[in-house]
């Protein structure tokens, strides 16, 4: 059973990302949306833990939320961008979704 985890909070003022990374199992997927997209940037204090997750999980980020926040550059290598229909595809490809709010 594979799970999709979504994170919609900035990692800097909420522990949703940290808890997600602790719980997410190998082979599962993580999608950053809304203020969660700030975790996808290279060079932050969370970059190492996101890279660690990339070793055995897929990590995605929602492009429209990156665009809105001016965060298009310096994406961590290996993170894939998706649009809204890609978001829908991810929810259908996984057995269940956990939203880390």
């Amino acid at each position: 059973m594979s799970m999709l985890h979504t994170v919609n909070k900035s990692p800097f003022n909420n522990d949703a990302l940290s808890k997600c990374l602790q719980c997410a199992q190998p082979g599962s997927s993580i999608l950053f949306i809304e203020d969660g997209v700030y975790a996808s940037r290279e060079g932050t204090t969370f970059t190492d833990s996101v890279k660690e997750a990339l070793k055995d999980k897929q990590v995605y980020v929602l492009q429209p939320d990156l665009d809105a926040r001016g965060m298009n550059s310096s994406l961590i290598d290996g993170i894939k961008t998706v649009d809204y229909s890609g978001f829908v595809d991810l929810t259908t490809e996984h057995d269940s979704v956990q939203s880390w709010l």
Binding site: K9, N13, Y38, A68, G70
Partner: protein, 139 residues
């Protein structure tokens, strides 16, 4: 009114939230623009996730929200000349001043020369500036 003397106070607006995810950033900007009409000594501080409000290249069409980032460039026209950005907050987020919009004001005491509004400060320096204020408003 017999006493028409203007009392000027020092107001600081402290911004600690990212734009778009919550309404705080937009609300703060609206209050700042209103307050600017009252001719007070205004400064803005951007710390923690607040620094994200000032990033370049925001494009909000696809999320269906108003892009208010250009409004920060109008602050100089409202005579808001002091915009403090906390250094450590940028660093922990992998950002530099180059990732932020270039904000300027015209200095009327210096032949309207264009000067940078953004001043990079440490948390300690910012704390001292906070203590000098008459009024501090938090967002």
């Amino acid at each position: 009114m017999s006493d028409a003397e203007q009392i000027t106070k020092k107001f600081m607006y402290i911004n600690r939230k990212a734009p778009y995810g919550t309404i705080y950033a937009w609300e703060s900007l609206e209050v700042v623009l209103i307050a600017a009409a009252f001719d007070q000594d205004i400064s803005l501080a951007f710390i923690d996730d607040g620094v994200y409000q000032l990033t370049k290249g925001q494009k909000t069409e696809a999320i269906g929200l108003k892009n208010f980032s250009a409004t920060y460039r109008a602050l100089g026209d409202y005579d808001i000349q002091k915009i403090y950005v906390e250094k450590e907050s940028l660093e922990t987020r992998g950002l530099t001043l180059d990732d932020l919009q270039h904000l300027v004001y015209e200095d009327e005491d210096d032949d309207y020369a264009e000067k940078d509004s953004i001043k990079l400060v440490s948390a300690d320096e910012l704390g001292k500036i906070m203590e000098e204020q008459n009024v501090v408003l938090s967002f």
